[in-house]
Amino acid sequence: MSAKVTVRKFDAVIVGAGGAGLRAAIQLSEAGLKTAVITKVFPTRSHTVAAQGGVAASLGNSEEDHWHWHMYDTVKGSDWLGDQDAIEFMCRKANECVIELEHYGMPFDRTDNGRIYQRPFGGHMSNFGEKPVRRSCAAADRTGHAMLHAMYQRNIKANTQFFVEWMALDLIRDAEGEVLGVTAMEMETGEIYAFHSKATIFATGGAGRIYYSSTNAFINTGDGVGMAARAGIPLEDMEFWQFHPTGVAGAGVLITEGVRGEGGILRNANKERFMERYAPNAKDLASRDVVSRAMVTEINEGRGCGPNKDFVYLDITHLDPATIMKRLPGIHEIGIQFAGVDCLKEMLPVVPTCHYQMGGIPTNYHGQVVVPGKRTQNEIVPGFFAAGECACASVHGANRLGTNSLLDLLVFGKSAGETAVDELKKSPKSHKELPADAFDRTLARLDRLNTQKGGSNVHESRLDMQRSMQKHAGVFRFDNLLKEGVQKILDIQKDVQQTEIKDKSKVFNTARIEALELDNLIEVAVATMVSAEARKESRGAHVRDDAPDTPERPNGRDDANWLKHSLWYKEGNRLDYKSVNLRPLSVDTIALKTRAY
């Protein structure tokens, strides 16, 4: 690997071309700033494409709605761990961002009178939790896809420069902590570049691939989160991951809740309908967390299915085949393709599956990255911004409200871009000089990978990490498993530091790319395990067996000791905490209460 690094200068560099990156880029390019977007894959192949549910905005097109009600639902969804200033900001900005998107050409579904059609979605309520309200705006079942297309076209018009099939490798920070850009590799040539910038925005998405069972696409390797951790930025609330109860075991492909709605039954190794014991009334239709917990308990107590007893079955063989094919189109094909099972005749293997990362790079609602400093717990890291799933604003807190993920990336993508524009326009500055060691970390990583002998296999180390995360920090968590998990993941981290690739070629070397991605995944995995082990309560998506539901601590939530954000630092593998902002921008605090649906 050549040590030569070519430097290119831009006003702003954005890493990631999913929804958040594209939205930020529009803001910067339309302000006339020279803007680069670095992306591993073509923008419209980003994982935002997978978002189907829609985007939340209290437009009130179908019935009365209000941003304050949306805010209440979001705070409640977050189990009060979300920062209420950021949540108010997001919910108030939602209408503006959705209408802007409409003006960019987004083909939203329409009502008969031509307004944006809004559909109901779980957790969306009117009048502070009173009754369901139609708040989700969608474009058929291709909302994310349509959104990316509309924003990509807008960027082309605004002359955003795209660097497609480039992988960002490391953040460049100087001695004062200011961020001055990133290093990146052009896959086509294997050459290393530095993108020297006045503003650097991370929009790299989530890291759902740390889990063995994940709904995330293979590209979701937490690159921005890993880069930030290596550059000394703490990671916030990494113990909080949203899981879905039924993903195909060994594959992760989602099986819609509609399958249980149509009469699907969960069974253990004894073919027992175990949900009857956990939820005698609702049975298989109990809420997501109750079903997930029951599934994990069955597996942990030895009643899992298959040779490794590590999944349960979803049984629809008793249903009328015609009904299945009519009401659940696609499920038969998913069974055949990903489980090798004809679900009309055999049961489907399923496990709780990781879906969304709530934590990430800590930011304020302006999209600026913030870290504890000498004066406050939220000091701005100059030149550094983050938005979307890689960031933690924190609007999702301990659990995300449905359709708030697309809203998050629109609002905070725009906000990060807008703040960067304001800073660069108000006080124009030339590029700060790069420090002498700007490329050292990157070159050392590449050199290590090129010269490693007798090291570990990338695929095997990744699999070890994924299996450990699934077993030790899954949807339902146990103190002893978490403690063992911390030791295990630190051992695996040592393997990852010694990965070896056989193919040393430069051009489109996918083995090298996968090894570099694993460097990022492992940071996220360690942060998750350590943060989860330390948090001794249950809150939102972090549910511990030893923090049960009691009158003093409903649902196991311990506000006296744990109403605070976790901050994990790579250096020293240590944790710190900061308080939750319970003060909204203009309205009263949404007071703590038990989260019940």
Partner: protein, 86 residues
Amino acid sequence: MTAEQQRVRTERLRWHSRRAFLENDLVLQRFWQKQPEVLEEMQAALLERLLVLEDHDLWELLSGRRAAADPAVQGLVELLRQPAVQ
């Protein structure tokens, strides 16, 4: 096309098999596990035609909801659709 050009072409296709959502990733991963280190030219040419599709359109083909107009491309789709376990 030289052997090196065909190798690079194969690697590029391997990367283009990283898709926007998991279903496509998994089907393509299964395909690659059964291929030689370097794809033969005809196979590579067909795969190139398939991988330029948008992910939802690709999944329409891979899930059998729609057939490709070109029989040669459809032949590759059929190969991709062969499940891991029969």
